[in-house]
């Protein structure tokens, strides 16, 4: 009967309850969307592996390192494999069509990044084709590319028209892996540099190291940086997570603003629900007083009030989540250029549900407090 009473209480003012649920749903959707944007921003950080280190030039990410470091790094105890990459920075037809492009080591890159899954025959084709490129599934879908296509990029750093053969399409091992990048062969790029800028050949952007034991990352980082101290290109080694985070934090102010906005939205949800629950509590003062006179204790009434508040919050949260999935799906393609991984993650799902339920409980505090303090005679207004 208690559950039935909670449901029927919630439906006393159907329009008010419906509008409250809708208000909570829209706010929950907005909150979830901001959390999804934040998650998309941090997706590279989340996708990083604890057994990988990144070594780059200590001066900055735009400065290169000699390829010759690879053999020396590989000899350091605890380093299992070393690969490298360069930022390519090309334009496909129009600058609006931005997507990340990396020139990578054909021999070890996919071994160090096993989360990029490529069919073996396509991988072999890539190793045998200097102009070969492997593209992410979402990138291929975005431009309608398929294996066998030839595309041309206009190099903005390496100023030339670059032809590539799409020889493979990779998929991420799960939905948090970026499927919006293009991986081309580093030796193709290096051959061009040798020809056009001979002094800059055999240079790489950054190394990525696979460790045999992630617990030794601090010790190995230190060993690498010590080894190249006082050389022409000193290094800075950090975990892949810290490396990814350094890029994310370049947008620190925006991220802080987004986080502040998400908390403001929680406040809005709270106000919407508190308003409804306080009104409902006031309207039922005499009923609550009468129930107390029957022998119901304040905590019985608090259960009923909290149940109603939680029910509205839960329905609003549920509807908000449905809206969130719908909206996220619609805007996903529109933001693919900036956020290759734009999905409502299980963590966001849980946060949204928890926020809705938390707000439901908070909104019940005011009417509950009132009913606890209320004297029966005052509630009944029967002083004669």
């Amino acid at each position: 009967m208690v559950l039935s009473l909670i449901i029927r209480n919630a439906l006393r003012h159907k329009l008010r309850t419906f509008l409250t649920i809708l208000g909570v749903a829209v706010a929950v959707m907005a909150f979830g969307l901001i959390r999804t944007i934040l998650a998309a921003w941090y997706s590279s950080v989340e996708a990083s592996s604890p057994d990988r280190l990144v070594t780059r030039n200590a001066v900055g990410i735009t400065s290169t390192l000699p390829l010759s470091y690879r053999e020396q790094i590989l000899k350091i105890d605890g380093v299992k494999q070393v690969t490298w990459a360069n930022w390519f920075g090309g334009t496909y037809i129009d600058p609006e069509n931005f997507f990340p492009q990396f020139a990578v080591d054909k021999d070890a890159y996919f071994e160090v990044f096993p989360e990029f899954i490529t069919p073996p025959d396509q991988f072999e084709a890539w190793k045998n084709d200097l102009r070969g490129a492997i593209v992410g599934r979402k990138l291929a879908d975005r431009f309608g590319w398929k294996v066998g296509d030839r595309i041309t990029l206009i190099g903005s750093i390496y100023t030339d028209n670059w032809d590539f053969d799409i020889v493979g399409i990779y998929a991420g091992k799960d939905q948090t892996i970026d499927e919006g990048s293009m991986l081309m062969r580093w030796d193709y790029l290096d051959a061009w540099i040798k020809k056009n800028w001979p002094g800059y050949a055999a240079q790489i952007g950054w190394y990525v190291l696979k460790l045999s034991d992630p617990n030794r990352s601090t010790e190995i980082s230190s060993a690498i940086d010590t080894q190249f101290k006082n050389s022409t290109a000193e290094t800075r080694t950090e975990t892949e997570k810290a490396f990814a985070l350094s890029f994310v934090q370049m947008s620190g102010a925006i991220l802080v603003l987004l986080k502040v906005m998400s908390f403001l939205i929680i406040g809005i949800i709270l106000m919407v629900l508190v308003n409804t629950m306080v009104m409902a509590g006031r309207e039922r003062t005499a009923e609550h007083a009468y129930m107390k006179s029957l022998g119901f204790r304040a905590y019985h009434l608090v259960w009923i009030i909290s149940g109603e508040s939680l029910l509205i919050a839960f329905l609003g949260g549920g509807l908000g989540l449905l809206l969130l999935f719908g909206v996220a799906n619609i805007v996903k393609s529109a933001v693919a250029m900036w956020f290759p991984v734009f999905v409502v993650t299980p963590a966001t799902f849980m946060i949204v549900i928890c926020v809705a339920l938390f707000v439901g409980l908070l909104a019940a505090i005011f009417p509950s407090q009132r009913v606890v303090r209320m004297k029966i005679v005052d509630g009944l207004r029967v002083v004669d």
């Binding site: 009967m1 039935s4 009473l5 005499a286 022998g295 119901f296 204790r297 005679v377 009944l380 002083v383």
Partner: protein, 224 residues
């Protein structure tokens, strides 16, 4: 003479408004025997509802002792009072105080939710109470689907469903037409005669009070 079910000794009650004391009851003393049907009458502000509230344990006296069925109500804690009320007191109010979202059956069942009775036992009690008040055919009706007299009868069924020691009614006919008021007072009289219920009714209406065995008057907080 039956033993006193309610013993009121030197009971006074004052309210405070902006630190100003407003005495409502002054030094009340009287006994109500088991099986009595008492009408408390008096003008507005005479303190009759306050006295009823003190007897029912929904308010506390400022001084004095008030015992119901041997229990000194004034000394019970709030929790003990709530439990005591659920076991010993049946309350009927002028405006029925039925929950509009519950059917007649569910409204009557409400006090039994505080007991350990099974669902089947609760059903039996509710059906009995509703048949006593003549509303066995209205179990699925919501309060808005009932007349004022029927609503008050549901309220009486709710008050008697847990078989309380004492039935207290505050202006039970105050919101009813003449015929419905007559029916309600006849019902209360029947509960007293046939079921031996001790009943205290607060009323303005002399015709309603006629059904009682004993009428006591309050004036300016004193029994006359």
């Amino acid at each position: 003479m039956a033993e006193a079910l309610v013993k009121i000794r030197n009971v006074s009650k004052s309210y405070y408004r902006d630190s100003q004391e407003i005495p409502v009851l002054r030094n009340i003393n009287f006994d109500i025997p088991q099986g009595e049907f008492l009408a408390l009458m008096g003008p507005s502000g005479s303190g009759k509802t306050t006295l009823l509230n003190l007897i029912s344990g929904i308010d506390r006296p400022s001084s004095g002792d008030l015992a119901v069925a041997g229990e000194n109500v004034a000394q019970l804690t709030d929790g003990q009072l709530a439990k005591w009320r659920s076991e010993h007191i049946g309350l009927v109010f002028q405006f029925y105080n039925l929950l509009p979202v519950l059917t007649a059956f569910e409204n009557v069942e409400l006090p039994l939710m505080l007991t350990k009775l099974s669902k089947a036992e609760r059903r039996k009690h509710v059906e009995t109470a509703l048949s006593i008040v003549g509303l066995a055919d209205r179990v699925k009706h919501y309060p808005r689907q009932l007349s004022g007299g029927q609503e008050q009868r549901v309220a009486i069924a709710r008050a008697i469903v847990s078989d309380p020691t004492l039935l207290l009614a505050d202006e039970p006919t105050g919101d009813l037409d003449k015929q419905s008021a007559e029916d309600i007072m006849t019902l209360l009289s029947r509960l007293n005669k046939e079921f031996g219920k001790t009943i205290i009714v607060v009323t303005h209406d002399p015709r309603a009070a006629e059904k009682a065995h004993l009428i006591r008057h309050l004036n300016k907080g004193e029994l006359t």
